[in-house]
């Protein structure tokens, strides 16, 4: 087993929380300053939190895949902690993107939810990564847990391109890409700039969140190792299976 580095419980840094608050403030000010859309009016402001949330879901699950692959290769638990931390944040932002999408859908489409390809695949991705987090709770053995989760972490990434290109591959109620497309952005420059500011701010927020979430993952691993080192043998540990092969 690869044990986590002992933290020696140095004081927990405060600056990631400050960075998160600052990034949140920048997004809010930028989103409220830009002119409303000519068709959607004020509702277009929802885009500046909905799109960055969806972007962070993609980024977080991409980092989960990277951490999982690195764990399977190097067998070092720090990569598993990276994958786990990113998956939890990814689930949070996927849930937020879905909730914000529903808040935008109701006044524009007239319904909270529809079984559109983009929405359905995003919901499936949300539940698969919830399953990833649940899978991690099936054992206290750190290496076994990391191995199981890493396999799922690598396989589950297939959903990200499926979700992203669903609006291109299938007829969808959800709008097609408006920024990254061969003909160039389909939006006014001020809206594109505001959206890029929001995406950058959310990315900074993700990095700050990851620093704190990985600190938590390291502490949790230390506690698990500590508990296991004080545990006596489990019931059944002393039972030796009979050698039945010798009798045949």
């Amino acid at each position: 087993m690869t044990s986590p580095e002992k933290s020696e419980l140095s004081p927990s840094s405060v600056w990631p929380w400050v960075v998160m608050a600052g990034a949140g403030l920048v997004t809010f000010v930028a989103a409220m300053s830009v002119s409303p859309d000519v068709v959607q009016g004020q509702l277009s402001r929802i885009m500046y939190v909905h799109v960055p949330s969806a972007w962070l879901a993609y980024l977080a699950f991409g980092i989960t895949m990277f951490g999982s692959a690195m764990y399977l290769w190097k067998k070092n638990l720090k990569w598993d902690r990276l994958a786990h931390s990113s998956a939890e944040i990814g689930v949070f932002f996927t849930g937020l993107a879905i909730a914000l999408g529903m808040t935008w859908a109701k006044p524009t489409w007239g319904v909270w939810w529809t079984w559109d390809a983009r929405l359905t695949l995003t919901a499936i991705m949300f539940f698969v990564y919830l399953g990833y987090l649940a899978l991690r709770r099936t054992t206290d053995n750190l290496d076994l847990r990391a191995k199981r989760a890493s396999i799922l972490g690598v396989v589950a990434i297939i959903q990200v391109p499926l979700v992203h290109f669903s609006v291109v591959w299938w007829r969808s109620l959800h709008q097609a890409p408006t920024i990254i497309r061969p003909e160039g952005p389909e939006m006014d420059t001020s809206m594109v700039v505001t959206l890029l500011i929001a995406v950058a701010s959310f990315t900074v927020m993700y990095i700050a969140m990851m620093i704190k979430r990985m600190e938590l993952a390291r502490l949790d691993d230390e506690i698990t190792i500590e508990e296991q080192s004080h545990q006596g043998p489990a019931a059944g540990d002393a039972v030796v299976a009979p050698d039945l092969a010798g009798g045949i």
Partner: protein, 43 residues
């Protein structure tokens, strides 16, 4: 749609976003505090 109604939806979306962010980051902070306390008690 009436702009004031549009603003209500915008407020709902931003309230949801920042409310969820505060709850999630608080949950991380609380779990870190508990974990550190647990490790200190056992040291």
């Amino acid at each position: 749609m009436d702009p004031s109604v549009e603003w209500n939806w915008v407020l709902l979306a931003y309230g949801l976003t920042y409310g969820a962010l505060v709850l999630f980051t608080t949950s991380i902070a609380v779990r870190i505090t508990r974990a550190r306390k647990k490790l200190v008690e056992r040291a």
